[in-house]
């Protein structure tokens, strides 16, 4: 059994997953409410909270999995990318846990983790496939040939899709983090009420910054009472533009790669319109779209384990090497 720890951003998460990809427990303590009043994740606030939460979350993961630490055979942890101070809390905890029990440590890349949310039972996905990874910090098209990794075929040139959702939600006064709120608001709106431009960039890359500016102009020019009335239409139209860009690019890339099956992972993968538009694709289970430790423990099954005690000087990384 693998115990996974994830603290790269504002979720403190611990999970237990078996070598066969069976989820024994999945505990996620979200700090979203804590950061809402700042309008975004504050690194120092997040790190302080991780320190408070890792212990209780770890205990709860064991309890819910009806397991003891004696059954843990390896410790998996997110090494990066993410907030460095936050990552170091999880990494230090993982090292202490592994060292004290003479276990191997498996450092996991957070993005490999998102992809590995597809490798769990029942219904674990077998490569090859084309993976759309859409999260708060990344928008990637990945050519996945083996469970141990991937090859990047497309990325965003500016904002990530999740960032576009969050910024749009803020402009529409829907709070933070806004992706899920915008998704809910959009259900009552007309996706064709406004036409937002989606930048066409060459290859399989994405660009979302123009979209946010377009929404800003529309919102700025609307009288306050009118904004209130059109909020759902704006949300629906804005979301539609993002989803259309994602779907078009993804389908085109899949064709180009010889008709590969499509899969979707990451926080924006929870979006209802995206899920409907790619209903034929393999979609990460809803609870595993946003950050969690199940995906980290899952990825660890396909990443090199560092034997005891060779990992004791391991450092975290904020951005991909």
């Amino acid at each position: 059994m693998i115990l996974g720890i994830e603290t790269s951003c504002d979720e403190t998460a611990v999970a237990l997953v078996t070598q066969d990809g069976e989820v024994r427990s999945n505990v996620v303590a979200s700090q979203a409410e804590l950061h809402a009043r700042y309008g975004g994740v504050v690194p120092e606030v997040a790190s302080r909270r991780h320190l408070e939460l890792v212990g209780p979350v770890l205990s709860e993961a064991l309890e819910r999995g009806k397991a003891t630490l004696d059954e843990v055979e390896a410790v998996a942890v997110t090494r990066g990318p993410g907030l460095i101070g936050a990552l170091l809390v999880g990494l230090s905890a993982a090292k202490a846990l592994a060292w004290s029990r003479r276990l191997p440590l498996i450092p996991v890349d957070h993005l490999h983790g998102h992809v590995a949310s597809l490798y769990l039972e029942p219904g674990a996905l077998e490569p090859p496939f084309l993976c759309l990874l859409v999260s708060g910090g990344h928008t990637l098209l990945l050519d996945v040939r083996a469970r141990s990794g991937y090859h990047v075929v497309g990325t965003t040139l500016d904002d990530a899709a999740g960032e576009a959702f969050d910024k749009g939600a803020r402009l529409l006064g829907l709070g933070y983090p806004g992706g899920a709120a915008l998704d809910r608001k959009a259900r009552d709106g007309d996706p064709d009420a406004y036409s937002f431009p989606v930048a066409r960039v060459p290859g399989f890359d994405f660009s979302f910054s123009g979209l946010k500016t377009a929404l800003l102009y529309v919102v700025r020019d609307l009288p306050a009472d009118e904004l209130e009335r059109r909020r759902a239409d704006l949300a629906a139209s804005y979301q539609h533009a993002i989803v259309r860009a994602l779907v078009e690019r993804t389908r085109a890339a899949a064709m180009e790669l010889g008709g590969q099956p499509i899969a979707v992972v990451g926080g924006v993968g929870a979006n209802s319109e995206l899920r409907a538009a790619l209903a034929d694709a393999t979609l990460a289970p809803l609870p595993l779209c946003t950050d969690n430790a199940v995906m980290i423990a899952s990825a660890a099954r396909y990443a090199p384990a560092i034997p005891f005690p060779q990992y004791l000087a391991l450092d975290a990384y904020a951005t991909a090497a």
């Binding site: 009043r37 700042y38 504050v42 120092e44 606030v45 790190s47 302080r48 991780h50 320190l51 890792v54 212990g55 209780p56 770890l58 205990s59 630490l69 460095i84 101070g85 170091l88 809390v89 230090s92 905890a93 090292k95 202490a96 846990l97 060292w99 004290s100 029990r101 003479r102 005690p309 004791l312 000087a313 391991l314 450092d315």
Partner: protein, 199 residues
């Protein structure tokens, strides 16, 4: 009682292994490598993690990231090994290593952490009250050597051992061992974002 002591609140992270009043070994490196030092000490003493009976940890004040690494290490070891934890302020450990001196830890942004009437405080380096003839130790004292010496204070040479919060002192000062989760960091400053919000 076999105690593992560690302090990662300043740039020089220290670890010590002590049994009752006897120091079995002590090392210094960086916060990210602190367990590597622990492993060396345990090996030298022919001991294993499972032999530990208590953890003494530096609670700062100091570098927030470093401090948290030490505390989460102590707390996780406590959960894993079923042993209690005792917190010792980094300033108290520094003071214990240099009797009669005032500990001063660099708090960055031209501030220092120091003891004022035995209590930890954060103040502007310029506001540090210097008693002529008195010794000042810690990385803050080194950083503000000129200011302290101008006011008549004494700062040992930069490479003097007194500037490091050696973990042997944490092992000796440790009292009231309890649950790891009850051992809290001494931050002394709210996050910038929170202070901005209050304005």
């Amino acid at each position: 009682m076999l105690i593992l002591a560690l302090d990662t609140a300043t740039d020089v992270a220290t670890v010590a292994l002590a049994r009752d009043d006897e120091v079995l070994g002590e090392r210094a490196s960086r916060a990210v490598r602190v367990l590597e030092d622990v492993e060396v000490l345990m090996g030298e003493a022919d001991l294993r993690a499972a032999d530990l009976e208590g953890i003494a940890v530096g609670t700062g004040p100091g570098s927030y990231t470093g401090l948290r690494m030490g505390l989460i290490t102590a707390r996780t070891l406590a959960i894993s090994l079923g042993v209690p934890v005792a917190g010792v302020s980094t300033l108290d450990a520094l003071a214990a290593g240099a009797p009669g001196a005032t500990p001063v830890v660099d708090a960055k942004r031209r501030e220092v952490f120091t003891l004022v009437e035995s209590e930890p405080h954060c103040l502007a380096a310029a506001d540090l009250e210097v008693e002529p003839g008195r010794a000042y130790v810690g990385d803050g004292a080194v950083r503000y050597r000129d200011l302290i010496e101008e006011r008549g204070g004494v700062v040992p040479p930069d490479d003097a051992g007194e500037h490091v919060p050696w973990a042997r002192h944490h092992a000796r000062l440790a009292r009231d061992f309890g649950p790891g989760e009850a051992t809290d960091p001494i931050y002394l400053r709210a996050p910038d974002a929170e202070r901005a919000l209050r304005r």
